[in-house]
């Protein structure tokens, strides 16, 4: 039996799951056990199409869950919206988890039915840019890649011939590659609002690469892990002080790096230029609505404030859609980057939204998606 607050090192007992897993397959095994033992009706997994593409699906097939291990850094999806209205377990990066929490504040997700196995996250990358980076920077044919890993600030690719090539993430980002912009300044790296927080930071020695550091965040996390242990799907042991302190250290270093990026990206715009900035940024918008569709914290549905006050016949220099959204999301935007990813005219939507939301959230010392204790500052919490 594990306890809330435990920090453990663990892995899947099935050698296939363990070797296929990103760092020991614990996450896969926990999700599979939750399904097998009836804690949930389905599990959200990423169905792999190739190294750079996967689609989120909900499955009730334990075997499908067991074969879904591995982290896909070049698949920048957010999983929050896939769980709305369902009794499921899901893996989740901090932004996935924060999206679910924001949905729960609005009663669109029932957290007592949703089990979240959080994954630490240093960032994700865009698949097409990643392929371009492989050709230009790594001189590797993207088709030859069989695996990738982030270790000690380096992005490592493994090829079919067994070759490994690594380049520092700093260098890649200098050249415009590497993590998406939102990931560089993302301010949660360990998903403390999930039920379990898992990752490879702090896994050292002989276990490096084949075990997962797992922190039990709450009672649901305890239930998840106990279920997996009882089912014989995982084995765990307490993490030692060294592991714990390495994990803390790397996390602090990553957050510091994120702050530096924030300084760079969010340079001060003088008051007199601010309106012009927002108008100019959205000037090429083609009103596709994709930025709303993907937003993991938006729970308005099709009849929403931003769309109902907006008409293409309007002559506003910045659409009502964007004006309403900037304001409406200022208390819930988690900076997940999905809106910028899907914008068909490459507007840096996330950066614009974060620029608007940053001071509002900072002044109130409020971080959306962290817990259900504080209500959003612009809304009544329904939960």
């Amino acid at each position: 039996m594990v306890e809330v607050g435990d920090r453990l090192l663990g892995y899947a007992t099935d050698p296939n799951v363990r070797s296929k897993g990103a760092s020991g397959g614990l996450v896969t095994a926990v999700l599979a056990a939750a399904l097998e033992k009836g804690l949930v009706e389905g599990v959200v997994i990423l169905k792999r199409i190739d190294e750079y593409e996967a689609v989120p699906v909900i499955t009730d097939d334990v075997q499908e869950v067991l074969s879904s291990g591995g982290s896909m850094h070049a698949v920048p999806v957010n999983l929050a919206k896939y769980v709305v209205g369902k009794k499921v377990a899901m893996p989740g990066k901090p932004c996935d988890v924060r999206g679910v929490i924001e949905q729960a504040k609005r009663n669109s997700v029932d957290l007592s039915n949703t089990y979240i196995v959080g994954l630490n996250c240093g960032g994700s990358m865009h698949p097409v840019l990643t392929k371009e980076m492989l050709i230009k920077m790594y001189e590797i044919d993207p088709e030859d890649v069989v695996g990738e890993e982030i270790e000690k600030g380096k992005l490592i690719f493994k090829t079919k011939s067994g070759e490994e090539k690594s380049i520092s993430i700093d260098k890649l980002e200098e050249e415009g590659y590497g993590r998406r912009e939102s990931c560089r300044y993302c301010d949660v790296k360990i998903p403390v609002s999930a039920d379990l927080a898992c990752g490879n930071w702090g896994v050292i020695g002989e276990l490096a690469g084949n075990a997962t550091f797992c922190e039990v965040m709450n009672e649901k996390g305890k239930l998840l892990l106990d279920t997996a242990i009882e089912a014989g799907y995982v084995e765990v042991r307490p993490a030692d002080e060294k592991s714990i302190s390495i994990r803390e250290k790397v996390n602090s270093a990553m957050l510091k790096l994120g702050d530096e990026w924030k300084e760079k990206v969010f340079d001060e715009i003088p008051d007199k230029d601010r309106l012009k900035y927002y108008i100019d940024q959205f000037a090429d918008c083609i009103d596709c609505g994709a930025c709303k569709e993907v937003c993991p914290v938006c729970s308005c549905g099709p009849d929403s404030k931003c769309t109902m006050f907006h008409s293409l016949a309007d002559n506003y220099k910045m659409s009502m859609y964007h004006m309403v959204r900037l304001l409406h999301l200022s208390d819930s935007c988690i900076g997940c980057g999905q809106c910028a990813d899907v914008c068909p005219v490459d507007i840096p939507v996330t950066t614009i939204f974060r620029r608007f939301a940053n001071p509002a959230q900072k002044n109130r010392n409020y971080m959306p998606g962290m817990d259900l204790k504080r209500p959003p500052f612009l809304e009544v919490m329904l939960k």
Partner: protein
């Protein structure tokens, strides 16, 4: 909880954006983003985002009736045997393999498949290959780009390529109908003044070729390209426009959609067979087109979606939705993309029809091989010489002109937030139009009151992104009043 996920291509225009269609076990459809697709990085425009509506909406379809597919095929065959004055149309709104199957039926009938673009037959054949598309990435490298289209409305996923070109210091000039935010210059010039554009071999001219394109416009641009060395990118409106026009063997005699409808009206076409091509949606004047089609002896429709022509057809052979089909598309840049779907209902139906007509059956695999051979056959481009202008039909000049801004919603008769017209500020001021007010437009087809939006446009021009009942053609003379 089981869902089916299809990797497919958006049917909205010839850009060919990749996407996923999810279908749940109740048949509800939603879209998802195919982020590793090199054409669009998973990004979609307004039309792409509304595809669930496109796939689920529409008029009553005869194939919804319990009557069997075999019955429809037998009925179609009976009508086609011995039919005279047969014409066949496939604009490229389905897979290249289905188009190829349709070509097989045409051969059996001793007929030909037209793609509805008349401009081809008006141009010297050696020019045709110059109207094939080019890689979108080449746009990003051009030092000068001249736009004869409105990318924001007509081909939205081109905008990001143009913005990328701009970041690479390309100079963008719009010679279209309205001012474009991304253009460095917005010019309102006539072909005689094109030398002002200062183009050279590092320039790209972007125009489009669709069923209502005036061949003269294309001739001017081919001549401009010849004189300056600038490349031409010819955008196309349908998912397989590029593919079917490369496959088509009858380009020199190809009939335009308007010409076909004229022949239907005059009785020179008595049997019309349509493959995912609905003239009621594609022609500017809906009522006139319905009237003409009703004169046919036989109207046979092979279609994967519910569209208005299904309602008045004699036979509808209903096939699976586009995303479920096995098949190949070629986008405007000449890129071949394949559906993950495996549906062959359409192919099998056409194979059975061909058999009923006394010819051989065929299978998807054979058609696919044929398609790939045709699409990957890089023909040699032979040069062309300066082309003479054609005699022009009467143009609407003077007064006010209502013009269609063809776009995916218009081609497919899809609802959108576009019940307004675009006019310039001079018109607003001279008619003293109020904010939120309406403008009254009158043509020989009647009167309509419309909301308006202000755009930078030449005086006297009124643009609409949706079909209007008062329009008689792509451009219509109108009277305007404030109201």
């Amino acid at each position: 909880m089981k869902e089916s996920i299809y990797q497919t291509v958006c049917p909205g225009c010839g850009i060919g954006c990749g996407l996923y269609i999810r279908e749940d076990n109740q048949g509800a459809v939603s879209i998802d983003f195919f982020k590793s697709n090199p054409v669009n990085l998973g990004k979609l425009c307004r039309f792409g985002m509304k595809l669930p509506h496109y796939f689920s909406s529409g008029a009553f379809c005869k194939a919804d009736e319990p009557s069997s597919m075999e019955g429809a095929i037998r009925d179609a065959a009976a009508r086609l045997k011995g039919a005279e004055k047969v014409a066949m149309l496939s604009v490229g709104n389905t897979t290249c393999e289905e188009h190829m199957a349709f070509e097989r039926i045409a051969k059996t009938l001793g007929s030909a498949v037209h793609t509805g673009i008349q401009a081809y037959s008006k141009l010297p054949p050696e020019c045709h290959s110059y109207l094939e598309g080019m890689p979108f990435q080449d746009i990003e490298k051009a030092n000068k780009i001249v736009l004869f289209i409105d990318p924001y409305v007509q081909y939205p996923l081109l905008v990001r390529r143009l913005l990328a070109a701009k970041r690479n210091n390309s100079h963008i000039i719009s010679v279209g109908t309205k001012e474009l935010h991304l253009a460095d210059e917005n010019l309102s010039i006539t072909p005689n003044e094109y030398s002002q554009l200062g183009l050279d071999s590092n320039s790209v001219i972007i125009t489009d070729l669709h069923p209502h394109t005036d061949a003269n416009d294309i001739i001017q641009l081919l001549n401009l390209s010849l004189e300056t060395g600038a490349k031409i990118l010819t955008m196309k409106p349908f998912v397989s426009s590029e593919g079917v026009n490369r496959i088509s063997k009858v380009k020199t005699t190809s009939k335009g959609l308007s010409q076909m409808m004229d022949e239907v009206k005059k009785g020179n076409i008595r049997t019309l067979v349509l493959l995912d091509s609905d003239p009621i949606e594609l022609m500017p004047d809906t009522d006139e087109t319905v009237k003409s089609l009703k004169k046919l002896d036989n109207l046979i429709v092979i279609s994967s979606r519910k569209s208005p022509v299904n309602e008045i057809a004699d036979v509808v052979i209903s096939t699976e939705p586009l995303y479920r089909k096995a098949g190949t598309f070629m986008n405007t840049e000449g890129r071949i993309q394949e559906n993950s779907g495996t549906g062959v209902t359409g192919i099998n139906a056409m194979s059975s029809l061909n058999k009923e007509l006394g010819s051989e059956e065929f299978e998807y695999g054979q058609l696919h091989e044929q398609v790939m051979a045709a699409l990957t056959n890089e023909g040699q481009k032979s040069g062309y010489s300066k082309i003479k202008n054609l005699a022009t039909a009467k143009q609407c000049t003077g007064g006010y002109v209502l013009k269609y801004l063809y776009n995916p919603f218009m081609w497919f008769n899809q609802l959108d937030d576009n019940d307004f017209v675009l006019i310039n500020l001079n018109m607003v001021r001279s008619l003293k139009l109020k904010k939120g007010g309406q403008i009254s437009l009158t043509s020989e087809n009647g009167n309509i009151k419309m909301r308006y939006r202000v755009e930078g446009m030449p005086d006297g021009l009124i643009l609409t992104a949706r079909k209007l009942p008062i329009a008689i053609a792509g451009t219509t003379s109108v009277k305007v009043e404030g109201c």
